[in-house]
Point group: D2
Chain length 294, copies 4
Amino acid sequence: MFNGIYTPVLTPFTRNETIDYEGMAHNLSRWAATDLSGIVVLGSNGEFVYLTQEEKEALAAFCISHFPKTKKVIVGTSCESTLETIRFSNRMAELGADAVLVLPPHYYTGSMNESVLYQYFTDVADACPVPVMLYNMPANTGLNLGSALVARLSQHENIQGIKDTSGNIVQLAEMIRDAAPDFAVFAGNAGYLLPALSLGAQGATLALANILPQECCRLMDLFHAGDLEEARQLQLKMLAINHLVTRGKGVSALKTAADLLGYTGGIPRRPLVPLQNEEAALVADTLRIYGALA
Amino acid sequence: MFNGIYTPVLTPFTRNETIDYEGMAHNLSRWAATDLSGIVVLGSNGEFVYLTQEEKEALAAFCISHFPKTKKVIVGTSCESTLETIRFSNRMAELGADAVLVLPPHYYTGSMNESVLYQYFTDVADACPVPVMLYNMPANTGLNLGSALVARLSQHENIQGIKDTSGNIVQLAEMIRDAAPDFAVFAGNAGYLLPALSLGAQGATLALANILPQECCRLMDLFHAGDLEEARQLQLKMLAINHLVTRGKGVSALKTAADLLGYTGGIPRRPLVPLQNEEAALVADTLRIYGALA
Amino acid sequence: MFNGIYTPVLTPFTRNETIDYEGMAHNLSRWAATDLSGIVVLGSNGEFVYLTQEEKEALAAFCISHFPKTKKVIVGTSCESTLETIRFSNRMAELGADAVLVLPPHYYTGSMNESVLYQYFTDVADACPVPVMLYNMPANTGLNLGSALVARLSQHENIQGIKDTSGNIVQLAEMIRDAAPDFAVFAGNAGYLLPALSLGAQGATLALANILPQECCRLMDLFHAGDLEEARQLQLKMLAINHLVTRGKGVSALKTAADLLGYTGGIPRRPLVPLQNEEAALVADTLRIYGALA
Amino acid sequence: MFNGIYTPVLTPFTRNETIDYEGMAHNLSRWAATDLSGIVVLGSNGEFVYLTQEEKEALAAFCISHFPKTKKVIVGTSCESTLETIRFSNRMAELGADAVLVLPPHYYTGSMNESVLYQYFTDVADACPVPVMLYNMPANTGLNLGSALVARLSQHENIQGIKDTSGNIVQLAEMIRDAAPDFAVFAGNAGYLLPALSLGAQGATLALANILPQECCRLMDLFHAGDLEEARQLQLKMLAINHLVTRGKGVSALKTAADLLGYTGGIPRRPLVPLQNEEAALVADTLRIYGALA
């Protein structure tokens, strides 16, 4: 089911914090023209937590209808309650989502033990008409999906992969070693794409691919072509801009970079704030050093 | 505005996971007959993250109308986006909430620096027709509202208190020292009620007060009457059951204890699970040792 | 065995990083003239990790012989290995130490489970001719001595107390509740002295008491005299200078403050560095605001 | 200076906790017969924190004189104070150590900022007659040496490499990108040897190489020969036994495995305890599944 490079697409907002559908259409057409295998809508980079249920449905429907059928659309459908995640996943499947991406519920961090999480993902996968991709994102959720839990969940026929954004490369190796044969382990951040590929990762879902989709695809191609030294150079080259638009300055920096590169980034929704001038200048400089900006 | 003991009320669900309004009415009538100064609806113990927007509005309206006007009703109105928190806070004020309790947005943990959080709470307080109580809950949010930030926010005329569930007693002391004169610092857990009172806390919002409201009020009364040794004994006595229904086994244990003591606890919503038999037996034993159960 | 206020004495060094015994003698004579119950030599504030074994023995012997027999001298004897801690504890007892203060070994953090720590402290206490005080210092060791472990250890007739510097006030309450009757629970930081006393702590070992010994003793006296409001005011007043000389700027700030108040602080040993000018000015200002400096 | 696979050698103890020099000689002769580039004496796996200064000197001298001059001997010389680390490093150089491995001082975690650590390592490197290898070990020290600090330190002509046991693969990539040209970045754990090599790591210092030295060397050879799929399989195969003898059960498990494979492991020094029977059986099973044991 899952392989190749995906990007969790940003959601452009206009100055008055409404979704900029025109900008979104523009971005979708650009991503469609790349080697990306697909997109993830309503992911962390899409500011899904800032969208109302109505906006989520409308935006997902829009992306599905404006993106080529030859590529895949995965929709983030995480809610805190089992019932709502199931309801929303079904709705997204109706709208044509190829798969759903699901975080562990995490508000009651202390109660989310392995048994509770196993049951949650099993309940969701049982009830969901399209494949489920797990989403491990400890920095935002405070919870880690360990390799033993992931191995158990990978036995479910409707749980077909994981996006692992933990950055724990040994754990990622264990997932690859222990998961069911067709289960796809995806790197969740471009900072460790090459290491993940060296261990057998089938793909990646990368914020960086919003703005440098071909570069991300090229790294994967270089690796598969056996051009390891070139791949290594590219991996090291990517680190600076990738850090800035993910861990460093987050969605706001990603949007600034998108605007600079001809995408429509727009502003983030509050409480997130646009970059300050010197931060924006740093993004521009970093893109220039990379060679992505004149 | 704020003083005395509040309880963040649990939300009873029936076997099919719908809100048990009859049970809620029963609980409200019991809490109304105590010395509690008020209740918090849609707090962490109310499983607010598992309720839809429609359910939240209906439940808040129900509690406001079924609780005596002589006591206060604070409603939890935290959403991730500034816009939604403002919209929902206004709606709750229309329905008659005396105040709102607001968490820091926390999904983008890394971006929620002090400046962003200051602006968020200021925006919400500016737009909210009723007083705002801050809610510091690091265990669930991964974010701490430090005493310097709280001191700044306490200068806003519509930010009138904080429920601090961090358990950092030095930080709580600093909040009391630095906040504006009428700003109320509330202990957020019964485990450190007496230490907080010894430092000048004006009140507390306690999960334990769902099931032992008079005991919580009694500890505060003993302290204010200068009966320190009795207060100390009661504080130590409370620790075991309090731990079990908060950090230990959470909302599920609170609901089991509620059922045992004649309240309607009901089951939690999934993914939370009811206590297993031996866990429930431990809750019963702990209540018996306390003397709350025959 | 243990009660009252102790201070973990700083070790003054001269410009060439040798122990300043003259300064030490001066400090000891000043502490001797206060209401302190005793001192702790070779504690964290004494930079014990920067002293050679020879220096440790010489310094402990010096302090024991230069401090009045009417007060107590506890010596920190923590080594990583069981054998060395026993050997050094015996040596200190020979030299006249009234008791020893012992940290958990912590380099192999992941291996130091409750069973290993229980055995360690039991082995040490079995072999030590003077009473053992446990020392819980998670910020420096990465390990917490939980209340269940402390309760078990408190049953050992030669383990007679704990200095708890964790700052977890609920855990401190649990220790008081669960430990053997004559076991002494000491607050390990002046930031929560009053809260700890309100729960029944028998004493405290306070870095702040190096420089403000009488103020620390006064807070305890006020509490025991039932003058809670005065005690509360003093507790809040102490927070700023206490923070600066402990968590804030550590031993270097403590030494600067000591010099300002007529003690011999001297410089810290490398890699610790003396405060920079503006940091030193902040210490002076904070002491002035406190009223300890003209 | 540094490349290839090193092992941080274990220190065998007899039943009465004295160093088993005969066992050590046996082990050294076996390691000498492998493709290892060298050994590290007095590292974490050597229980250096449990050895007295006298034992450290004697053991280092013994290893240096019993290991072939064609391979390298690095000695761990970390002390908490700058003076002692310098003194001990000089002594080890006199005894013939090829280089020293130095941890950041870490007892005063909160005071060890980047500036203090920079000065510490610079002072040590200035005064040390042989090259210094930095040692990043956050799990044991509570401190991380970030890539920016490492890049600055790599400019010092006598600081020639780092053993990075943090497991943060992005940080390791940044170190490779930013360090001075001849500075060697070493993986510090076999769990991520292949990912580290894919990024350009020059070598590794691996606890696992105590017991499976040729396997560790073979993985590096496979990588350099371009046999990526074979390397990948070997990396995944190594994970289980590597986890057990490092993060999982630590030095005690490493010693049990050593005994099983014909090395002299012996017992650990207290407070560390030998594995219990079922833990030892797990080590044996894991070695059997690996194929290292019949």
